[in-house]
């Protein structure tokens, strides 16, 4: 088949990789779940999924010796990367979840617990509207306001220059961040029905664009 790109989903023992794989299979047809350092080579796009606790995630990435090859691919070779939920939070410098833990430092920022506010139950679970701040490839042809499925208790705090979209839950929460070839989404596009699949399709197209 023509035009198929190599999408690789990083499996570090956590998270709903099967659902992420299902979505990309539908959109691209060629997607591989990888769990070893050598497998990252020749990826056209990398997906960092994740459900769970930050400290465990970073520990697993270390144990599987995935951090160095990830940095090499993303920083040196500029391979597009999409972090989903916990995968997005891993992109930050550090997180206060489960003690103080260092992240991948792909996008300057830190992960903090969402402060509790009266009337706003935590975790932040459910479909919430996303307000797009910047015209970005991920939101191509998706109408400005759309709801996506969130489920998290921590949020990504970073400089406005990296913020692509936010959501509001009594307070603003960064929903999408980007720095060059690194994208992070706090919600779960693989479980956000049509709009989510649309966003993932946009990411696939973005990868194709970088290959030309």
């Amino acid at each position: 088949m023509e035009n198929l790109i190599n999408i690789k989903i990083i499996d570090y023992g956590m998270g709903n990789i099967q659902s992420v794989k299902n979505a990309f299979e539908l959109l691209n047809g060629k997607v591989e779940i990888i769990s070893g350092p050598s497998d990252i080579k020749n990826a056209d796009g990398i997906i960092l999924p994740g459900v769970g606790a930050f400290s465990n995630a970073i520990k697993n990435l270390k144990e599987r010796k995935l951090i160095e090859p990830l940095k090499e691919a993303v920083i040196d070779q500029k391979v597009p990367l999409l972090g989903i939920c916990l995968g997005m939070q891993l992109l930050a410098d550090n997180s206060e979840e489960g003690g103080n833990n260092e992240g991948l430092s792909f996008i300057a920022g830190k992960i903090c617990k969402i402060p509790y506010m009266q009337g706003y139950r935590l975790p932040h679970v459910g479909w919430n509207d996303v307000a797009v701040k910047k015209k970005e490839p991920l939101f191509r042809n998706i109408i400005d306001k759309g709801s996506f499925y969130f489920v998290h208790s921590y949020r990504f705090e970073c400089d406005d220059e990296f913020v692509v979209a936010t959501t509001n839950y009594g307070q603003n929460i960064n929903a999408v961040v980007r720095k060059e070839n690194v994208f992070g989404v706090q919600f779960h596009p693989e479980r956000s029905q049509r709009k989510g699949l649309h966003l993932l399709a946009n990411f696939v197209n973005y990868i194709k664009g970088t290959k030309i």
């Binding site: 956590m14 998270g15 709903n16 990789i17 099967q18 659902s19 299902n22 979505a23 299979e25 539908l26 959109l27 459900v51 769970g52 606790a53 465990n56 916990l86 509790y116 706003y120 139950r121 935590l122 975790p123 932040h124 679970v125 459910g126 479909w127 919430n128 509207d129 759309g146 709801s147 499925y149 969130f150 489920v151 998290h152 208790s153 509001n168 839950y169 779960h188 693989e190 479980r191 956000s192 029905q193 049509r194 709009k195 989510g196 699949l197 649309h198 399709a201």
Partner: protein, 290 residues
């Protein structure tokens, strides 16, 4: 704003989807693949798949079925039934679940809630509670598919589950299950006022107008039902239009919305008048990937 959620609950017994009446009578619907595909296309916000015979038969949910179902599911999928260890959770998630629901095993071994939360995060643990109003006017928890009474008071158990790390509570009323008279709003209110994690209300929905009360009167973050979604075309979309017309903020992304249409007092879609029908224009909808 965060939307309220409409959740479809699919009960699986011996690998078939069933309707449940009072936790003791079951009507077969059939192959799980079809209801899941339909609901997924009809704008449902989440799907909960429960294997109601697994725990009692000391087996796990059929992972092959889960894998197949997960492939056509693009909304969050919570799976329950037969989970007794962290290892089980790992297997369910590997097969395509996003969250797990635990009930009897959480009562028998409450540490399990914390163990799952520590590894997969709180958002992954839904504690399901089957409650019944006892003669002394106190809601208590029943286990093993609502058959065995426990001494646990519903509100206290909810509080404990929250402090142990539960991310959500799936609150089911045994009295109302299959009764078609609506949610037990007193129960829902009691629990939503006790804990600060989201509550999913379930049990008793008999017509589409019942959903809104669980949210407006009970204070639930999500409303769930099982039986009503079978045998009715666009069932979840019609439920959502009812919710929207009652003033509940809920996601509506579908092409068919029934906006502006009238519903009867039971929330059923009314037929259009001959005159209105003659004005309807049929246009081809956009092609959707799902």
């Amino acid at each position: 704003m965060l939307k309220k959620r409409l959740i479809a609950c699919l009960l699986m017994k011996d690998d078939l989807i069933v309707q449940s009446i009072g936790f003791n009578r079951y009507l077969p619907i059939g192959n799980p693949k079809f209801p899941l595909e339909f609901l997924n296309k009809w704008d449902v916000d989440e799907i909960v798949l429960l294997d109601i015979s697994a725990y009692k038969q000391k087996r796990k949910l059929n992972l092959k079925i889960l894998e197949i179902l997960s492939k056509s599911c693009f909304v969050p999928l919570t799976v329950g039934g037969g989970i007794t260890s962290v290892d089980d959770v790992q297997k369910y998630i590997r097969s395509g679940a996003d969250k797990v629901s635990i009930n009897s095993s959480a009562i028998n071994n409450s540490k399990l809630i914390t163990q799952i939360a520590n590894i997969f995060g709180s958002q992954c643990v839904v504690v399901s509670m089957d409650c019944k109003l006892d003669k002394d006017g106190i809601y208590r928890i029943y286990k093993d598919s609502g058959k065995i009474p426990t001494n646990l008071v519903a509100s206290e158990w909810a509080k404990e589950a929250e402090s142990l790390g539960a991310g959500e509570i799936f609150l089911n009323s045994i009295d109302r299950d299959g009764s078609k008279i609506g949610y037990d709003n007193n129960l829902i209110k009691e629990i939503t006022e006790t804990v600060s994690i989201p509550i999913i209300a379930c049990g008793g929905v008999g017509d589409f107008s019942h959903f809104a009360s669980g949210i407006i009167k009970g204070g639930a973050s999500a409303v769930a039902a099982g039986n009503i979604f079978h045998y009715i075309e666009h069932s979840t979309i019609i439920a959502k239009m009812n919710l929207l017309q009652s003033g509940v903020d809920i996601r509506m992304d579908s092409e068919a919305t029934y906006k502006g249409r009238e519903f009867d007092k039971n929330g059923r879609l009314m037929m259009m008048s001959r005159e209105d029908l003659s004005k309807v224009e049929f246009t081809r909808g956009k092609e959707n990937i799902i």
